[in-house]
């Protein structure tokens, strides 16, 4: 196994000395006045807290009379602070927190669409997930709206954000793209070859998953949450399972905790291998695309041998695992990974030694640390811009507290930095998979859910996926069902960062910049 450090600019942050870290305690839910929500969240973030999400709620199903908005932040010790404000049905509005906390601006647009809660003073109050064909006044996450009834189409058109002036032209791209990718519309305002502004419009694959799971049992919702997208299945199953385990006071047996690490790192590994190739696809560097595609296929076959599923669905579930890992797959794992690791290192080495390639990577799509902080970038997007955010260290789950997973951080914030961070994380994931496979004890793979979830109780679960932290907000209803679920995926958090990375770059660099984030549309739109 090569120990070459791929990136001179990349520094690994030393793991914290306190190990294994104890999970920090989450604060109790705190009710605040509507106009205090924004200033309170801003003050917490000023004290070092990180923005997690804003979730809109219909309280009528849990004994309330109106709607509510809850803001969640993670304090610097990893524990959560949750602030909720109640709103009446007659006047469902509150002062928007986005002017104070820009990271919340898509969350607030979404709750305006889905719950009809108006964040007054929002800088961009356009629709986000429900496009203009949906009629006004239709807010599907309200409890009196049935999931099965389709409202009539409205006849309104989308008004993109455009920059006008002498020499400025508009370049619409998508939602149908040339490659086999998901739908998104990108509206460039450009002068010559330089992009002045990029308006990204998603929501084309909004399937209403959060509405569909309401009323289902905690177990029955798993396959739906897990399939929010195709490539973060372990991440989403893990985040969801941890939320369920928090609601039901369930302790996961040791074998499952280690297997979860193994599976999560295998997911990171095949994603990073494929994404490194996709970055090269952004400039049409064919040798690297095919070699990394070849490596990704080998990793998918490792997944298949271990779990029976190339994309790792149906393994992680509430209480532990749904099925044990295949013994033959486990036995052949170390040898397979050693070979893949050596080929991956050699491939990355040959890419970083191609000056023509690195010349395109360096300086493209720069995201400064201020932008990344303000917009709440997560995962690779954050770590390549100097923010060492990584849930595996900040809020350890599964067996990560015993593994000292050190986040890989670079400071340049450009495509090259995101490439290097991925390459080095893939290297680290190989080590973590080997460690987890070696240290995984025998024993039961799942524990029964200890207690029934209290109706109206809510909890959060999170996991660090290939694109960053995905969070699940979950509230139990009657008889072990789901009252409300919100999935805020890492892609959802990072799309606004992509839009901020593009201005100032050349139009033909957009595919490269976009692929250096390699975000998912499906789990953004849900």
């Amino acid at each position: 196994m090569s120990t070459v450090r791929f990136a001179p600019s990349t520094v690994a942050v030393a793991p914290s000395t306190a190990s294994p870290a104890l999970p920090a305690a989450d604060g109790a839910l705190e009710w605040v006045a509507p106009d205090a929500l924004g200033p309170r969240v801003r003050d917490l973030i000023g004290d070092g807290a990180r923005f997690i999400m804003v979730v809109g709620l219909d309280e009528r199903s849990v004994g309330g009379t109106g709607l509510a908005v809850e803001a969640v932040v993670a304090r610097s010790d990893g524990g959560l602070a949750r602030l909720r404000t109640g709103l009446t049905l007659a006047e469902p509005s509150y002062p928007s927190i986005s002017p104070l906390v820009p990271a919340a601006h898509w969350d607030e647009r979404e709750l305006k669409d889905l719950l009809g809660i108006v964040p007054v003073g929002h800088p961009d109050p356009r629709r986000l997930v429900l496009h203009e064909r949906w009629p006004r006044g239709y807010h599907p996450l309200r409890k009196d709206i049935p999931a099965e009834v389709r409202p009539p189409d409205a006849e309104r058109t989308f008004v993109p954000f455009e920059v006008h002036g002498e020499g400025v032209y508009q370049l619409p791209v998508g939602p149908i793209h040339a490659g086999v990718i998901e739908p998104g519309h990108f509206r460039f305002s450009a002068i010559g070859e330089r992009v002045l502004h990029l308006d990204a419009r998603l929501g084309f694959v909004h399937r209403g998953l959060e509405k569909i799971v309401e009323g289902r049992t905690l177990r029955a919702a798993l396959p739906i949450v897990e399939r929010a997208c195709g490539v973060c299945t372990v991440t989403h199953a893990l985040a969801y399972s941890q939320a369920v385990e928090a609601l039901t006071a369930t302790t996961v047996p040791p074998r499952a905790r280690w297997a979860r690490v193994l599976l999560a790192e295998l997911e990171r590994l095949y994603n990073h291998a494929g994404d490194l190739g996709n970055i090269c696809a952004g400039i049409g560097f064919q040798p690297a695309i095919s070699r990394l595609g070849w490596l990704k296929e080998r990793l998918l076959r490792v997944n298949d041998a271990l779990t029976g599923h190339r994309y790792l669905t149906g393994v992680v579930g509430p209480g532990g695992l749904l099925a044990d890992l295949d013994p033959d797959g486990l036995a052949s794992l170390p040898a397979a990974l050693a070979e893949i690791g050596s080929d991956l290192a050699a491939t990355v080495r040959s890419i970083v030694r191609s000056e023509g390639v690195m010349g395109r990577f360096h300086g493209a799509g720069v995201v400064g640390v201020e932008t990344a902080t303000a917009l709440g970038a997560l995962g690779v997007a954050a770590r390549a811009s100097g923010l060492p955010a990584d849930l595996r260290r900040d809020r350890p789950y599964a067996a990560y507290a015993e593994l000292n997973a050190a986040p890989v951080v670079a400071s340049a914030g450009d495509v090259a930095a995101r490439f290097h961070v991925r390459a080095q994380e893939a290297h680290e994931s190989l080590r973590l998979v080997r460690d987890a496979a070696r240290r995984m004890p025998a024993g039961p793979i799942a524990a029964p859910l200890a207690i029934a979830a209290t109706p109206g109780a809510s909890a959060l679960g999170a996991a660090e996926g290939p694109r960053g932290a995905s969070w699940i907000w979950l509230r139990a209803g009657a008889d072990g069902t789901i009252d409300r679920l919100r999935l805020r995926s890492a892609s959802f958090a990072n799309w606004p960062v992509v839009a901020a990375a593009v201005p100032g770059n050349l139009v033909p660099d957009f595919p490269l910049i976009n692929k250096s984030f390699e975000l998912c549309y499906a789990c953004t739109d849900r």
Binding site: R216, A220, R291, R301, G308, L322, D326, D328, D343
Partner: protein
């Protein structure tokens, strides 16, 4: 860099295609594969526990038949886990294409005596 040149020249020599010769050769299906859900009619007692467990409502159980809509099935295995008599198994069959969409619904008589 001489090492680099050697590496670039020699390493591809040991590249082998990772894909297999399917469909000329049989598909490679590993032991843990989750293919077609198969009903053991002898074990099944028509309790319909699988119906409630199915996230896509692909299973219908009547007085006499157990039927599965493969157009709706997502091969998650929730039915197999929910069955109190262990009568469903996601087997190794993965070639499930049909010409007529109606053929996606497979039906079994579960009243076969055990």
């Amino acid at each position: 860099m001489p090492f680099d040149v050697f590496d670039r020249l020699l390493r591809p020599l040991r590249f082998r295609p990772v894909t297999s010769g399917y469909p000329d050769l049989a598909p490679e299906v590993g032991a843990p594969a989750r293919g077609l859900p198969e009903l053991d009619e002898v074990r099944c007692d028509g309790s319909a526990a699988c119906v409630g467990a199915c996230p896509t409502r692909a299973i219908v159980v009547t007085d006499s038949t157990w039927s599965l809509d493969l157009g709706a099935c997502i091969f998650c295995g929730a039915c197999a886990r929910a069955c109190p008599r262990d009568a469903i198994r996601l087997g190794p069959r993965i070639e499930l294409a049909v010409r007529d969409p109606a053929d996606l619904v497979i039906s079994r008589d579960w009243r076969v005596a055990g």
